[in-house]
């Protein structure tokens, strides 16, 4: 035996190989699991598909930047300063003769990193805080909520600016600052979801079975709050990229000679009349990347919302 198994189907007992069986299970899973439904719904959504293509292109460009770059992004050349887009410099060159296309490829790496890492920081702090606050309730919840009220009182990018003032300028500090600025968003979101999940009978059953609070929160409560976290994180990556570029533009983020998009843009400002490509292209890149994540976020929100799926 070993490689064949008897399976009872509507056509009677059939002998099937193990491999066939495995494939069948996989197919079944693909057709019926929650996540595959989400994926299929997502791929039918035109906006989400465009978003995925945009993000995919940027990710590939970032991963293969060393192979795609036509020049060294940091190499200066006094003879090719402020050249317009052309065959030598595809997107032109900057005031130090550096190739804009190559710099932007590496800049994409920085922006994607900032987006992902700052969101991870926000999730890593905000999700547990919101979960514990919502799960335990009581005084702990009140104190946490008032603290979050205070953090939310700093509008938009201001909280990130305040944090970066404390930490000092630089890309790493921008990631931390933008991450911290998104903590209250996650804490609020997760607290709300936990409040609605914690009264479900399976959570009560788990508690009655003597499972520890820690295990209940992380194994039973949080997985059921995953959908809003994923949607929020997709939008949050877009926001993080925008804010980080803004901070760099203000001189509070990435420092020279780092090819961060916001930084390239602010340096190009001084040459706007002679070399408008230095401000146009990095801005377009930021716009596209943010648009990509926003489109994907919209699609995910629709796909993860069972109510809107049938439409």
């Amino acid at each position: 035996m070993g490689t064949v198994e008897q399976v009872e189907t509507s056509e009677g007992i059939v002998v099937r190989s193990r491999r066939e069986l495995w494939w069948e299970r996989l197919r079944h899973w693909f057709r019926n699991s929650e996540w595959s439904q989400v994926a299929r719904h997502l791929l039918r959504n035109r906006g989400a598909l465009i978003g995925l293509v945009i993000i995919g292109t940027f990710v590939l460009a970032a991963v293969f930047a060393p192979y795609l770059a036509t020049h060294n992004p940091l190499e200066t050349s006094l003879t090719t300063r402020l050249m317009g887009p052309g065959s030598e410099h595809w997107l032109g060159s900057d005031e130090l003769g550096r190739d804009l296309f190559s710099r932007m490829l590496y800049g994409g790496r920085i922006s994607l990193n900032i987006g992902l890492i700052s969101v991870l920081i926000g999730v890593a702090i905000g999700v547990p805080v919101g979960a514990v606050s919502g799960y335990y309730g009581g005084k702990l919840d009140i104190i946490t909520q008032r603290f979050i009220d205070i953090m939310i009182a700093f509008p938009g990018i201001l909280l990130a600016i305040v944090v970066v003032t404390v930490l000092g300028v630089g890309v790493q500090n921008v990631m931390i600052a933008v991450g911290i600025a998104s903590v209250p968003i996650y804490a609020r979101l997760v607290r709300g979801s936990v409040l609605s999940v914690k009264e479900q009978s399976y959570v009560k059953a788990a508690r009655a079975a003597g499972i520890s609070d820690f295990a209940i929160i992380f194994r039973h409560v949080l997985p059921n709050c995953l959908a809003p976290i994923i949607v929020q994180s997709t939008f949050q990556i877009a926001t993080a990229i925008l804010w980080a570029a803004g901070l760099s533009f203000l001189g509070l983020g990435a420092q020279a000679p780092m090819p961060e998009w916001g930084r390239i843009l602010s340096q190009g400002r001084g040459y706007m009349r002679m070399a408008p490509h230095l401000t146009t292209f990095p801005g377009l890149a930021i716009l596209l990347m943010v648009l990509g994540f926003n489109l994907l976020g919209d699609g995910l929100r629709d796909a993860l919302d069972p109510k809107s799926r049938g439409r």
């Binding site: 700093f154 509008p155 203000l250 509070l252 602010s266 801005g283 930021i286």
Partner: protein, 311 residues
């Protein structure tokens, strides 16, 4: 209702105190000796000590905070290290300009975004709907500082229609407010559209149509009022985000408002100004949210604010 308003007012007090404590503490955590900074680079040690004593910087930080707050409520926010002028005077000069910019931007965003959203919803999948939704997506994704530079390049440098920077005439207000309002306009258009679509499916709208009312009457008299509720909710939030975004817009257009003052002061390490500006922006945001919440209570008949269980 009045009970709700009173409760909401009382809840604001800890937030305001918390914001002031946190900002105060953060500024004290920053590296560098504030007394030395105030005394100037060539000051003798004796003079630095006298400055330290004069501003109470030799006191424990909680004592300093109480002194600061008791002076602040009397309108004394300290002296700018950079300009040597009272911080209150600096802020008093610049604050109205930021308020003007943010208000005009919000008005513009509402005047464009809301009608666009209504028309999109009533003519779903039309050319107008598709075009305005693409414009809305781009408006939300475009970095505000990049949009500022592009508008400057096109309408000030190339076409010469509007002044490229500075203040003075109403024409100076056009480019900064369009820049700042673009993202909000996009957001308003999207929210109005989806909320309107939702409302147009309601039974009472069908009834109104069945009564033989003209489509315009159905849309503008019956549906619009309830469709506006989500828009009003984000309005206040957007005003805060506009205040935060003003930091970037003001930098590009050399608009001497409070956002520009904040960034300049951070870069100059003029901490008394940073402290006061951040607190001011946060307080304003808290007040706006308070006003929106109260306005909301009057607007939405579905919500009952009894018994203090309204959060």
């Amino acid at each position: 209702m009045y009970q709700y308003i009173a409760r909401r007012l009382i809840l604001t007090i800890p937030v305001v105190l918390g914001v002031s404590i946190i900002v105060f503490a953060i500024i004290r955590m920053l590296p560098g000796d504030p007394a030395r900074a105030m005394a100037g680079p060539q000051a003798s040690p004796q003079y630095i000590e006298s400055v330290r004593a004069r501003y109470g910087l030799d006191q424990p930080i909680p004592v300093q905070y109480v002194t600061f707050m008791s002076r602040a409520v009397q309108g004394d926010l300290g002296v700018s290290v950079f300009s040597r002028r009272p911080v209150m005077t600096e802020i008093g000069e610049r604050f109205p300009r930021t308020l003007l910019l943010a208000s005009v931007s919000l008005l513009l965003a509402t005047a464009i975004g809301v009608p666009a959203g209504i028309i999109s919803a009533t003519r779903r999948n039309s050319l107008f709907d598709n075009a305005s939704m693409i414009a809305a997506l781009v408006g939300v994704a475009a970095p505000v500082f990049w949009l500022a530079l592009m508008l400057q390049l096109l309408f000030a440098v190339q076409l010469g229609w509007f002044p490229s920077s500075g203040i003075g005439t109403p024409a100076h207000l056009v480019l900064p407010s369009v820049t700042l309002g673009a993202a909000s306009a996009g957001l308003f258009a999207r929210i109005t559209r989806s909320s309107m679509l939702e409302v147009l499916r309601e039974d009472y709208v069908t009834t109104a149509r069945a009564k033989g009312l003209a489509e315009n009457v159905v849309v503008y008299k019956h549906a619009l009022k309830s469709a506006m509720i989500p828009v009003v909710t984000v309005l206040g939030l957007q005003f805060g985000i506009l205040l935060g975004g003003a930091v970037l817009t003001e930098t590009v257009f050399a608009w001497p408002g409070i956002g520009r003052l904040l960034v300049d002061s951070i870069l100059r390490r003029d901490y008394p100004v940073v402290q006061a500006t951040v607190m001011m922006l946060a307080f304003l945001f808290v007040i706006i949210n308070l006003v929106v919440d109260i306005a909301y209570a009057f607007l939405d008949p579905r919500i009952q604010y009894q018994g203090g269980q309204s959060e």
